[in-house]
C-alpha cells in the first residue's frame, strides 16, 4: 500500500518534473528550429551561449535585479507585516488592499506600470509636469538605467504583498506571553522586536528569501509587458533571454540549453544558500 501511494506521487513528479527536465536536457543537444532540419548539435548550443555576450548581460541584469528586489521586498514586507500585526480599525480592508498587487497577474501589472512610466503619456510624467518638477517628459522606459529602475519598482510592488502576508502569519504565531514577559523585564518595542520577533521570523525569512530569489531568477511576464526586455538589452533578464532565443531567434535548442543552465544555476544557488544558513534558521530549532 505504501509503495503504491509513493508510486503515485513519484509518477506525478516524473510526469511534471522529470520528463520536462529530461526533454529540455536532450533537446538542448539538438539544433531545434521550426525552419531548419533537426540535427544533433552536441554541446554547440551551450558553447554558443557562453560565447555570446548577451548571456553575460542577461546574467548580470538578473543578478542586479535579484540584489535590488529581494532585500527591498523583505524589508517592505517586514515593515508592512509589523504595521498590520497591530489591531486597528479597518485592518481587514487594509490587508486586502495590500494583498491586491500580488493577486493581479504579472502581465496585467506590467501594462499598468507602463501606464505609470510611459514616456509621453505616463501618469508619473504627468504628475511631475503638473508639479513643475520637470519641463519635458522623462524617458523612463527608453533610457537604459531608468527602464531598469522602473522594472525594479514594478517587481517590488508585485512581490512585497506575499512577503508581508507570510511574515504576518509567522508573527501572529509568536506567543503573546513572550512579549508580556519582555515588557515586564523593561524591554521596549525595538528591543522586543530584535530579541523576540526577528528570531522567531528567521525560518519564514529564509523561506521568503529563497522564494524571492527564485522569482527574480525567473522574472518574465511583468518585464515582457513593461519593457519588452529593452531598451536594447537593459532589462533583458535570463528568462526573457530564453524566450527571445526560442521564439524570436527561432532557436529552440539554444533556448532549452539556456533553460538547463538557469535551472542548474538555481539549484546551485539554493543549495549554497541553504548550506550557509544556520540549521536552526531553517527548521526553527533551538528556541
Amino acid at each position: 500500500m505504501a509503495y503504491a501511494l509513493a508510486g503515485g506521487a513519484l509518477a506525478v513528479v516524473a510526469l511534471f518534473t522529470l520528463y520536462p527536465a529530461g526533454y529540455a536536457l536532450v533537446g538542448s543537444l539538438y539544433t531545434l528550429s521550426p525552419i531548419l532540419p533537426t540535427s544533433f548539435a552536441g554541446l554547440a548550443n551551450y558553447a554558443l551561449i557562453f560565447d555570446s555576450p548577451y548571456f553575460g548581460f542577461a546574467l548580470r541584469t538578473t543578478s542586479v535585479l535579484a540584489l535590488a528586489t529581494v532585500p527591498a521586498v523583505l524589508l517592505l514586507g517586514l515593515l508592512v507585516a509589523v504595521m498590520l500585526n497591530r489591531p486597528f480599525r479597518g485592518a481587514t480592508l487594509v490587508k486586502v488592499v495590500i494583498l491586491l498587487p500580488w493577486t493581479i497577474p504579472a502581465a496585467t501589472g506590467g501594462v499598468m506600470w507602463k501606464g505609470v512610466f510611459a514616456d509621453s503619456w505616463g501618469a508619473l510624467n504627468a504628475v511631475l509636469y503638473d508639479l513643475g518638477a520637470v519641463h519635458n517628459y522623462v524617458p523612463w522606459l527608453t533610457t537604459p538605467r531608468l527602464a531598469f529602475l522602473a522594472t525594479t519598482t514594478a517587481q517590488i510592488w508585485a512581490q512585497f504583498p506575499l512577503a508581508a502576508v507570510l511574515l504576518l502569519a509567522a508573527m501572529q504565531a509568536i506567543p503573546g506571553e513572550l512579549y508580556e514577559a519582555a515588557a515586564l523585564d523593561g524591554a521596549g518595542g525595538l528591543r522586543s522586536f530584535a530579541a523576540i520577533t526577528l528570531p522567531h521570523l528567521q525560518p519564514m525569512l529564509v523561506v521568503v528569501t529563497l522564494f524571492e530569489i527564485l522569482v527574480a531568477l525567473t522574472a518574465f511576464d511583468m518585464i515582457f509587458a513593461l519593457t519588452g526586455g529593452g531598451p536594447g538589452t537593459a532589462t533583458t533578464v535570463l528568462s526573457y533571454f530564453i524566450w527571445a532565443e526560442s521564439f524570436k531567434m527561432l532557436s529552440f535548442g539554444k533556448g532549452l540549453a539556456l533553460a538547463t543552465i538557469i535551472a542548474g544555476l538555481s539549484v546551485v544557488l539554493i543549495a549554497a544558500l541553504m548550506r550557509l544558513m544556520p540549521r536552526e534558521a531553517l527548521v526553527g530549532e533551538g528556541r
Binding site: 539544433t31 521550426p34 514616456d119 509621453s120 524617458p139 522606459l141 536594447g232 524570436k248 531567434m249
Partner: protein, 453 residues
C-alpha cells in the same frame, strides 16, 4: 389523488415498450428515406457546399477588415465564409512561425517581404502565380516596383497587395517657418544644424523617433533613413555591407546615437506616441511610415492637424524604403483541395486585386486610413488623390514613392531583423557603442549564413 398522479405520469412519460416501438418506426422511416436519398444525384445530396476559410492578420483596423469580409461573403452569397483571426503586430512573426510549423488550419494570411523567404523556403506559403496565373500576367505589370519586389521570392509572385507604403520624412512646416527656418533639411547633417538652431529658439528636442526592441518597425525606420544616404544592408549575394568602415548604416547609426546623446532627438516606443508627441508642438521632425501623416493631420483627433508635411528623405540620394504587405495563400489551403484553393483565390483577388474593374478594398484602405497602395492605377484615381490631398502634397508623395525601393531579403531576415533592432536600440539608447552593435549584427549574419547555407 394518487391515481391522478399515476395517470398523468403515463401520459407524459414513455414506457420502455412505447420507446422501442417508436424507435423501430423511426429506424424503418430512416431506412426508407435513406434509400430514397441514395437514389438522388450527388449534387442534390450535397446541397450548396460552403467553403470555410481562416484568415490571419495583425491587429490593425479589425472592424474594417471584418466589414470587408462581410461584403465579400455577401458578394459570394455566403458560399465562402471567412473567419478572421488577429495577432498583435509585435508578436506576428513568431506567432505565425509557430502556427504554420504546427500546421494550424490557416488558408490566407498577411505576409511581408521580410518574412516571405523564410515562410516560402519552409513550404508554408505557396506562389500565387502557380494557382492564379493572371497574378503574373495581368496584375504584376500594374504593381509598383518595390511592392512587387517584396512579394517575389525566387522569381515567383506570392500575393496581391494588402497595402504598400513608403517611409517618409515628416515635419511641422508651420513651426519650422515660425522659428525662422526657410525649408526642411536635405541632408542629415543639415538636420543637426537646424535642430541646434531650433533648440536656441526654445524647441529642446526637435526630432522624435519611433524605436523599440519589440517593434519590427524599428528595423524599417532605420533602413529608410539609411536608404536616404544610398545605403543597403546586404549586397546582391546577401553578404553584409552595413559593417564596412564608412557604410551608410554606420554613418546613420552614429548620427542617430549622437542626436539622442545630445538630446536633440527623443525616442518613443510606438508610432502613435510619435504622432501625439508631434502634436504637442515640442518636436519638428520625424521619420515614420507615411500613413502616420494622415493621422497627424487629422483635425478630428489632433490639435496641430494641418501643420505637418512630408519632404524627401534627407541624405545624398533621397531614397527611402518601400514595402508591401500582402495576402498570401498557404500550403495548408492547397492541401485541402481545389475547391478550397478556388475559394481562397476568390478571396485574395477580391481583397488585393480587381473586382468588377475596381481595386475596391485597396482603395478603401487608402481613402479611409491613408494606407499606401501597390496598385499603380490607384496613383491616378481621383478619389485617392482627393483623399490624400487632404493630408499630403500628392506630387511629393509620388516623387518620394518613385525613389523608394524594397530591402534585399534573405531567408534568415526574419531572425536577423529581430536581432538587429535590439542592436539598433542598444546603440541609440547609449547602452553600447555603435561599432560594437554593428559588429554584433555582422557576427549574427555570419552565424545565420552558416546555419542556412
Amino acid at each position: 389523488m394518487g391515481d391522478k398522479v399515476d395517470n398523468r405520469r403515463s401520459e407524459a412519460e414513455w414506457t420502455r415498450r412505447e420507446f422501442l416501438k417508436l424507435a423501430g418506426a423511426g429506424a424503418a422511416f430512416a431506412a426508407l428515406g435513406g434509400a430514397g436519398v441514395v437514389s438522388l444525384p450527388r449534387a442534390v445530396l450535397a446541397g450548396p457546399k460552403v467553403i470555410n476559410l481562416n484568415f490571419t492578420v495583425w491587429s490593425y483596423s479589425i472592424d474594417t477588415i471584418q466589414d470587408n469580409i462581410n461584403k465579400f461573403q455577401t458578394t459570394y452569397n455566403n458560399a465562402i465564409t471567412v473567419k478572421l483571426n488577429d495577432v498583435p503586430w509585435p508578436q506576428y512573426h513568431e506567432t505565425m512561425v509557430n502556427r504554420l510549423s504546427s500546421k494550424t488550419a490557416l488558408h490566407v494570411l498577411y505576409n511581408g517581404g521580410d518574412w516571405l523567404p523564410e515562410f516560402a523556403r519552409a513550404g508554408w506559403v505557396v506562389p500565387l502565380e502557380d494557382y492564379l496565373p493572371r497574378a503574373r500576367t495581368y496584375y504584376a505589370p500594374k504593381i509598383v516596383g518595390y511592392a512587387l519586389q517584396d512579394m517575389t521570392y525566387n522569381g515567383k509572385m506570392y500575393g496581391l497587395p494588402y497595402y504598400a507604403d513608403i517611409t517618409t520624412f515628416q515635419y511641422n512646416a508651420k513651426l519650422l517657418k515660425d522659428k525662422g527656418v526657410a525649408h526642411p533639411p536635405t541632408t542629415w547633417e543639415e538636420l543637426t544644424d537646424q535642430a541646434k538652431f531650433l533648440r536656441g529658439k526654445g524647441i529642446e528636442s526637435p526630432m522624435a523617433f519611433e524605436f523599440a526592441v519589440g517593434l519590427p518597425t524599428t528595423y524599417d525606420n532605420f533602413t529608410a533613413m539609411m536608404f536616404g544616404r544610398g545605403g543597403e544592408w546586404f549586397d546582391k549575394d546577401l553578404n553584409p555591407i552595413f559593417d564596412q568602415p564608412n557604410s551608410a548604416a554606420r554613418q546613420q547609426l552614429t548620427w542617430l546615437a549622437d542626436m539622442v546623446k545630445q538630446k536633440l532627438a527623443t525616442v518613443l516606443p510606438h508610432e502613435t506616441d510619435v504622432v501625439k508627441a508631434m502634436n504637442t508642438g515640442k518636436h519638428v521632425y520625424t521619420v515614420l511610415w507615411n500613413y502616420n501623416l494622415a493621422d497627424a493631420n487629422n483635425a478630428a483627433v489632433h490639435p496641430l492637424a494641418g501643420q505637418f508635411k512630408a519632404a524627401l528623405m534627407p541624405g545624398s540620394t533621397h531614397e527611402t524604403q518601400g514595402q508591401c504587405k500582402f495576402y498570401n495563400l498557404t500550403r495548408y489551403a492547397v492541401d485541402q483541395g481545389q475547391e478550397t484553393v478556388d475559394g481562397a483565390l476568390k478571396f485574395i483577388e477580391y481583397f488585393g486585386g480587381e473586382y468588377k474593374g475596381q481595386y475596391a478594398i485597396a482603395k478603401r484602405w487608402a481613402v479611409e486610413k491613408g494606407l499606401g497602395f501597390g496598385q499603380l492605377p490607384l496613383f491616378e484615381d481621383a478619389d485617392v488623390k482627393k483623399s490624400f490631398g487632404q493630408w499630403i502634397d500628392f506630387d511629393m508623395f509620388k516623387l518620394q514613392a518613385s525613389k523608394a525601393r524594397a530591402r534585399r531579403h534573405a531567408v534568415w531576415e526574419g531572425i536577423f531583423g529581430e536581432f538587429a533592432r535590439v542592436q539598433l536600440v542598444r546603440a541609440i539608447s547609449g547602452e553600447a557603442p555603435v561599432d560594437e552593435t554593428i559588429g554584433a549584427m555582422a557576427q549574427k549574419v555570419k552565424e545565420l549564413r552558416a546555419q542556412f547555407k
